[in-house]
Symmetry: D3
Subunit: 246 residues, 6 copies
Amino acid sequence: MHMPQIRQHRQSNQLRQISFQSDFTKFATSSVLTGCGDTRVLCTVTIKDGVPKFLTGTGTGWLTAEYRMLPGATPQRHEREVLKLSGRTQEIQRLIGRSLRSTLDFAILGEKTILVDADVIQADAGTRTTAITGGYVALVQAIHQLIERGELSASPVVRQVAAISVGLIEGEAFLDLDYPEDVAADVDFNVVMTDNRELIEVQGTAESGSFSRHQMNELLDLADKGIQELMTIQNTEIDRWMQSKR
Amino acid sequence: MHMPQIRQHRQSNQLRQISFQSDFTKFATSSVLTGCGDTRVLCTVTIKDGVPKFLTGTGTGWLTAEYRMLPGATPQRHEREVLKLSGRTQEIQRLIGRSLRSTLDFAILGEKTILVDADVIQADAGTRTTAITGGYVALVQAIHQLIERGELSASPVVRQVAAISVGLIEGEAFLDLDYPEDVAADVDFNVVMTDNRELIEVQGTAESGSFSRHQMNELLDLADKGIQELMTIQNTEIDRWMQSKR
Amino acid sequence: MHMPQIRQHRQSNQLRQISFQSDFTKFATSSVLTGCGDTRVLCTVTIKDGVPKFLTGTGTGWLTAEYRMLPGATPQRHEREVLKLSGRTQEIQRLIGRSLRSTLDFAILGEKTILVDADVIQADAGTRTTAITGGYVALVQAIHQLIERGELSASPVVRQVAAISVGLIEGEAFLDLDYPEDVAADVDFNVVMTDNRELIEVQGTAESGSFSRHQMNELLDLADKGIQELMTIQNTEIDRWMQSKR
Amino acid sequence: MHMPQIRQHRQSNQLRQISFQSDFTKFATSSVLTGCGDTRVLCTVTIKDGVPKFLTGTGTGWLTAEYRMLPGATPQRHEREVLKLSGRTQEIQRLIGRSLRSTLDFAILGEKTILVDADVIQADAGTRTTAITGGYVALVQAIHQLIERGELSASPVVRQVAAISVGLIEGEAFLDLDYPEDVAADVDFNVVMTDNRELIEVQGTAESGSFSRHQMNELLDLADKGIQELMTIQNTEIDRWMQSKR
Amino acid sequence: MHMPQIRQHRQSNQLRQISFQSDFTKFATSSVLTGCGDTRVLCTVTIKDGVPKFLTGTGTGWLTAEYRMLPGATPQRHEREVLKLSGRTQEIQRLIGRSLRSTLDFAILGEKTILVDADVIQADAGTRTTAITGGYVALVQAIHQLIERGELSASPVVRQVAAISVGLIEGEAFLDLDYPEDVAADVDFNVVMTDNRELIEVQGTAESGSFSRHQMNELLDLADKGIQELMTIQNTEIDRWMQSKR
Amino acid sequence: MHMPQIRQHRQSNQLRQISFQSDFTKFATSSVLTGCGDTRVLCTVTIKDGVPKFLTGTGTGWLTAEYRMLPGATPQRHEREVLKLSGRTQEIQRLIGRSLRSTLDFAILGEKTILVDADVIQADAGTRTTAITGGYVALVQAIHQLIERGELSASPVVRQVAAISVGLIEGEAFLDLDYPEDVAADVDFNVVMTDNRELIEVQGTAESGSFSRHQMNELLDLADKGIQELMTIQNTEIDRWMQSKR
């Protein structure tokens, strides 16, 4: 099998090294420093009473996400977004929010709002998918804390979610692109799936050229494989953390 | 064949009525009031010399898009976005820009910037896909004007592009959703394709629940059919307009 | 009679062609695409319950206006005003608001707020006066709809209003300036009058030089004549539209 | 002669007490604390080299004005305008700028920009007209300083300008309204005139009701009288100040 | 005793000329134009019912300050801060607020908010300390007015406060720096003290180099001396003003 | 010796546990996660060519700092500062910038700009002083990298700097306050010193009450002791890191 120069120490269908440092900070309800290769995203979860206006009185809760990149996360310092958020930042935080909301039964949560902050400490591509994968772990931990404290009687988490990027480089499909691969890719997909192997979100973009239905299917097969592996790693970390809390 | 109550006068695989009013205004380089059912988007194109900083000196051009909704476009008045654009608006204008850029060879355009303004006059869902479909027609017309005026020697338009929405309502696939259908849909896709039947962008989101790979393929088949029809209608309008300019 | 080169197909005391396309859009309470020569302003009216804080509990209503120019309305693309509105835009929307408020008895309206949006689709000077003249027609139609729907028992419209520009070019007075005339004018007036031939607003500015009381009177005579004609055309359109609604 | 209750110690055609404190501050090129009754506006002028982009290379200069109200200027503290200027503030600073520009031959000034700051220290109505009347005095003084320092060889001031408000209260015309009168007025005019008795700007607004051509003429006669008096007082102050500089 | 060139007509331990023009404006509750050498700060005080959210229901009041520099206050025109306040401005207004709050027993004030506006009319260094020293005088006067009007039964002013700058120039300590001295100073302190000779705030900064504990003590001795003198002058003005109110 | 309840496991003159994780991220020039008790500040340094306008052409460099708190750093989620920075944030980042600039000879640096980002990951008081102490370590490391890469021939670092807070609680002086102590403190000092035991910045504030000269001296003695200890720890980390780079 021919493999472009760009990926040398990983198979084209292989994930980067995944890592979770749970309880990375101590004041947020939960906090997980999530690593995917050299990408590091700090996912913290806070839960507060009350919901946005459009839900008040409905008895159902809400989840919203914020995403930001620290200035030192990239080789060229990344300027902070002050007066307004870039379109890219807004797209990403909306995607994170939708993906994590798909795991919850908000009637069980009741009128509470879950805030997920994804702060990129180090960026080597895949920051939005890492935020979703790590955000799920932090979300489960935060819910667990609320149940422990008696603030919630049952868990509203009804599905598991994880996300990964896939892309076409010189016509070949690759799983979990790092930054040089992301730059080289002609087509770039972000895929979000649940534990019943259903899709929550598929965002595919041709940065140059276009892609066929056949290629798209090949990419989705790769993403499916990667996400199954991510879910196993998520569950391992959640179990380990639960044990440590006893 | 069973069809949910929601669509009564159209087949599930049928487009809404498409219309183009070219030269709707007279001062912009080109201007097309594009209709898709009750959705009306005014697409105007302006072309100016010069390119953004990151392209200066490369000899290649650029295209950028702005999208906005007029306050009277919806039954509930839509407040203007003043201090900052919503995430939704930014996502949409980035999508329109990427889609229309996919049709152009920027080396042929040279260091010019094409600005596409998509202003929604009336909103009955599908505003972003209507903006892409109508924006392509306005783009071709604007390029034609530049060639006529001798400001460009060859057309940089190398591909045709069109876009449509598809969605799942109670598990059934529908083409080209209007507003009540969009609200009822559990899964919503926006699909952008070129004339060689390749994909440029696929954005699929489960608003509630999730979707299988099988359902996704069904939706993409519908979108493919709709986009082929849109391209025929685009070409008919472009031909008519070209004739009228002789 | 000598006439400067600048106006060739109209008498100096002649209005441009006036047109109203009522029901231009279908979701706003009323919507009139108003034309004055090549100027096109889309006037839409929305009416909502409640009033600004300073009127709450008084039993009287309010009307407010927003004015904006679409980017493609002018030969040079008109940049959207994002972070802040220009002084010119704010002046114009305040003028439109004051002029249309002069037609209403707010005690009859009760605690409702009327929002008039004037979006300039095509700009060939006279956009603010066209917005007032067309806004009046849309206002009457919106009120009519509310009465039809039983949301209002009597019409609060107690006066008719229309507006026109006049100006001095090389010392000669002209009615209803188009863009080239506006640029050439040394003195520029916007005049708003009611159907009892009284003035609501007179805004006269010497862009270069100054003007005498005598010249001012000449200009106001012209404006008075033009506004009488506009009122006849407004009434014709309102009658036609009323007939069409039966 | 009948006079409404509202004005008791002044004739209806009488100005309030006018005062100028020239050189009120020492670091600006010129600075005049201008009083009109209880209204106090600090007018300072700065002149700098260079002109806005649209004038660069034309050899002609520019004048621009800023207007702001100090929080303590009114009985109810006036909140500072932070993120954006109100429409009222922008209208006023544009009016001040236009009025003062009418006095200058910018070809004589050359490529310099004159900045006039009008800061309202105490507000009892008539702040914009006081800013124009006092701004003219400060402008002449600033120009004089430049000539003295040899930075300008001839004065670009070719006209004198002053401004006053007039209004109708219960149908009667009044000159130079103070705050209670301004509140009571149904019609309110700001009039700007030059020393050759020509008009530069007429802004008349019916706050309630409307006004006839006859009433308008009566108001303009009053304004004309008041402005002639203001010009005498301006000249007296300028002469006094010139003497003091020798 | 050696004295650097920079200060020629004052001893190194001597204050500049201090002046208070109480009742400088008539609409604010109190208003004092405070002079310190060529520095002039207009301090106005407004008192309104209600307190910020975090104090509502506590029965205690609040004081907040705003600080701004007029454009003409400096030889080079000082641009107004529009979209956002500079860090310097915010630091200063927070310092003024804290300093003046230290004089008050907020339980006696009750749920009222005192707003102190410090507008710099002319800037020759020491504007923040002048604002505090003058702000105290205006504060006492405003409280007095409230008591006179029966809106307050006892005075919440329990301490007197004043402030001064001191600095090191070429190793020598100077009291009350003017602008040329401030520019020349290597170390710059702002000191706020109460009438019991206790400190409220000490802000010392080495602009270049550093300073020893010994030098710091020398500077604080100077500041202490200056502040004792300022308090005598404050009291003289307050007494004079009280007499004038009888 | 009596000690208030508030501090139980540390002497009043004892620092919290200090820690440095150098090379915490890999893309910035240097990056140190600095801990002081439970406070964690990520200090990253980037160096770029060019200087702000006011230094261009002088041959000397510049250093500027940004400070921000992550939302999850505190028990109550800390809202991101979007439209504008709070006064507190601006004060802190100006203090960090001044303190770190005091260590550099900018003529040796040449026309480069050093950007120091201090992002608070976890906040238990003392975040600004931790940012300075850790920022110094990151600064030395970044300079070292530039010298290694041959982009700088000599080190511009001419002084060492560290900072600590001290405070009075119920009249007793404490070194290095944590959050509960900070809340309880009546007087709060931030002290910045160099390795020659000279002061760079002293900021002392009485949050309630006031403080005497004697108390101030006691606090500065404590700060001096703490800063000497910090400098030893800084040097140990720098040496360790240097060794690791060989």
